[in-house]
């Protein structure tokens, strides 16, 4: 079922709502206000809204400067430009300087659709994960986003938010609450654990249904915060099922597969299969085409789960 609200709508609503009582919250854009739809924030708090134009490095640097004066800046761009384009500024002016800046990268992976390869971030979480202290989170749907936003404000440090901009599949009930630093087990199972994030969560749930028909009991864990990763929940599930499939709308390198493999290596070595982009660039297309192109479909998760169970030691 499609979500009732666009993610960006909830993002801005949350900011406007929190900013009413928290004067620290400011918004810095780089000419994509009309894409992420933070116009209502600008309207409500014109003196706390800045659009620096097409200059992502400056957006991040200005945000860092605002943060040194006690502000909590939220800055955003498409995921490619919010990360790659200004990586050193995020690394030095924000993270190394310990500044409380929240960076939003929209249109994750194949969600970039017809903006194509130049705009299709398959590496954003990977490179952000490599920055010491950076929290990396991909909210699953609008209910989760609404729950996480106050926690993101309360967390005193840099956060990268990988944000699907439009209506995504609705997974959670409105009003549900989540812990920014915990994974959420959506479905209990015994034979294989499917660890999924973002648009892959609904596909993982569909795959679990299909696997059930084949006599395989799949547990589905939504790991929305990739760093710091909830290794406790993941390891517990790994110990129970003994096999894992990671489903991510991201490059297999440096992404959720890598993060989960790190947990497995440390706490519970089990076979891991991955449904992810296999070291490829993006290209233009709608999501169904791109899902086929990069092998991100429900069927790919089902196949991977069967393979993982066969690899059990």
């Amino acid at each position: 079922m499609q979500d009732s609200k666009e993610m960006r709508e909830v993002y801005c609503e949350s900011l406007v709502q929190m900013a009413a009582t928290d004067p620290r919250i400011v918004v810095v854009e780089a000419d994509l206000m009309n894409c992420i739809k933070t116009g209502p924030f600008k309207k409500a708090y014109p003196d706390r809204f800045f659009d620096v134009g097409v200059a992502e490095a400056n957006m991040v640097g200005i945000s860092a400067g605002l943060a040194t004066c006690g502000k909590i800046p939220f800055c955003s761009s498409f995921g490619t430009f919010a990360t790659r384009r200004c990586y050193d500024q995020i690394f030095i002016s924000v993270a190394y300087s310990k500044q409380n800046v929240k960076i939003v990268g929209t249109d994750p992976g194949i969600a970039a659709e017809i903006n194509g390869g130049t705009h299709m971030p398959f590496e954003d979480m990977g490179i952000m994960r490599g920055i010491p202290g950076m929290v990396c989170v991909e909210p699953t749907d609008s209910a989760m986003l609404r729950s996480l936003m106050p926690q993101i404000v309360d967390f005193n440090g840099p956060v990268y938010i990988r944000l699907f901009r439009k209506k995504t599949e609705k997974i959670f009930e409105d009003g549900a609450s989540f812990d920014l630093f915990k994974a959420f087990t959506l479905r209990k199972g015994a034979d294989v654990t499917i660890i999924a994030s973002g648009i892959m969560v609904s596909r993982a749930l569909d795959a679990a249904e299909q696997l059930k028909e084949r006599g395989i009991s799949a547990e589905v864990v939504n790991v929305y915060t990739w760093k710091p990763i909830d290794d406790e929940t993941i390891a517990k599930s790994m110990r129970k099922t003994g096999a894992v499939v990671v489903a991510e709308n991201h490059n297999v390198f440096n992404g959720l597969t890598s993060a989960v493999a790190e947990v497995a290596a440390k706490l519970c070595p089990v076979p891991i299969e991955s449904v992810a982009v296999k070291d490829q660039f993006g290209e233009v297309g709608k999501m169904p085409y791109l899902s086929d192109r990069y092998g991100l479909n429900v069927s790919n998760i089902v196949d991977a789960a069967i393979k993982a169970t066969k690899r059990k030691i």
């Binding site: 400011v26 003196d47 706390r48 800045f50 620096v52 134009g53 200059a55 490095a57 400056n58 991040v60 640097g61 200005i62 945000s63 860092a64 400067g65 605002l66 943060a67 040194t68 004066c69 006690g70 502000k71 800046p73 050193d88 500024q89 690394f91 030095i92 002016s93 190394y96 300087s97 310990k98």
Partner: protein, 274 residues
């Protein structure tokens, strides 16, 4: 500015120069040239113009000084030590393991440093953010940003300049340490940033060029910047890399970073033994 003040600032600049040479000399190597070229500017800021108090380094109402050319850390550390932000002895720890005084300025390590810098081009954007925060909060603190001429080959400098100019940030004053050299050669031989003042004006800032080793000229230029309502000012400081230290100036382009012998620094500082 009266003669007594000029003398005080010039004497102070001499003290700071000696501290820089002692600090780098004790270590043996460091960014000498670009530290020495901003001595008079830092002296005017910290001992005359800037509203700063070593007893309250985190005062939210203090003026901010962003050394975007972060490799000139030893110059800033010398001033901070002399002002009493930390004990003078600390200058002996420059770049020692676990030090609070790293080559490049770090706001989380050194008391009194307002922004981390070192990856060139970034500090000016941060200074713009500080100035915007001052506007939001209707505070009257000022922000001073110090950039290098070589550093101004970074595109981010011009992103920040354009925004500061267009926003009319009159609480931000930018200083270009125009010492005309960078690591590889004279800036003019690599990729000239001139005419810098004209570029600033084209970016909707006001700009003027003064002798960067004349404390009175610097102070008066700052006064004019403060008086220019609704305009961000960039003061281009004509400077000499290594200024005031003959064995540094004589190295020319090589003065950026070089080794100093114990005999050299002790002679310059007039310190025969510890």
């Amino acid at each position: 500015m009266d003669k007594q003040k000029v003398k005080f600032l010039n004497d102070k600049a001499d003290d700071i120069r000696k501290l820089i040479i002692e600090m780098i000399g004790r270590l043996g190597v460091g960014h000498v040239g670009g530290s020495l070229s901003i001595v008079e500017l830092l002296t005017v800021l910290y001992y005359d113009k800037a509203k700063v108090d070593p007893a309250r380094p985190d005062d939210p109402d203090r003026d901010r000084i962003v050394l975007s050319k972060g490799h000139a850390g030893p110059a800033l550390y010398s001033v901070l030590a002399d002002k009493g932000y930390f004990p003078l002895d600390k200058i002996r720890t420059l770049n020692q393991p676990g030090t609070d005084l790293p080559s490049h300025c770090d706001m989380n390590k050194t008391v009194g440093v307002d922004m981390t810098a070192g990856s060139l081009g970034q500090g000016l954007s941060c200074a713009v953010g500080m100035a915007l925060a001052g506007k939001i909060d209707k505070k009257d603190y000022r922000v001073y940003a110090i950039i290098g001429d070589g550093e101004s080959q970074e595109g981010q400098i011009w992103e920040a300049m354009m925004y500061a100019g267009n926003m009319g940030l009159d609480n931000l004053t930018i200083f270009l340490d125009d010492n005309k050299m960078q690591i590889d050669d004279y800036t003019a031989n690599i990729n000239s940033v001139e005419p810098f003042d004209k570029k600033c004006e084209a970016f909707n800032l006001r700009s003027e060029r003064v002798n960067g080793h004349d404390v009175k000229a610097i102070a008066e230029a700052i006064d004019r910047a403060h008086a220019a309502k609704g305009k961000c000012t960039c003061i281009v400081l004509d400077t000499v890399k290594g200024h005031g230290v003959p064995f540094a100036v004589s190295k020319g382009v090589g003065s950026h970073s070089f080794s100093i012998s114990e005999a050299e620094w002790r002679e310059f500082c007039g310190k025969e033994a510890d």
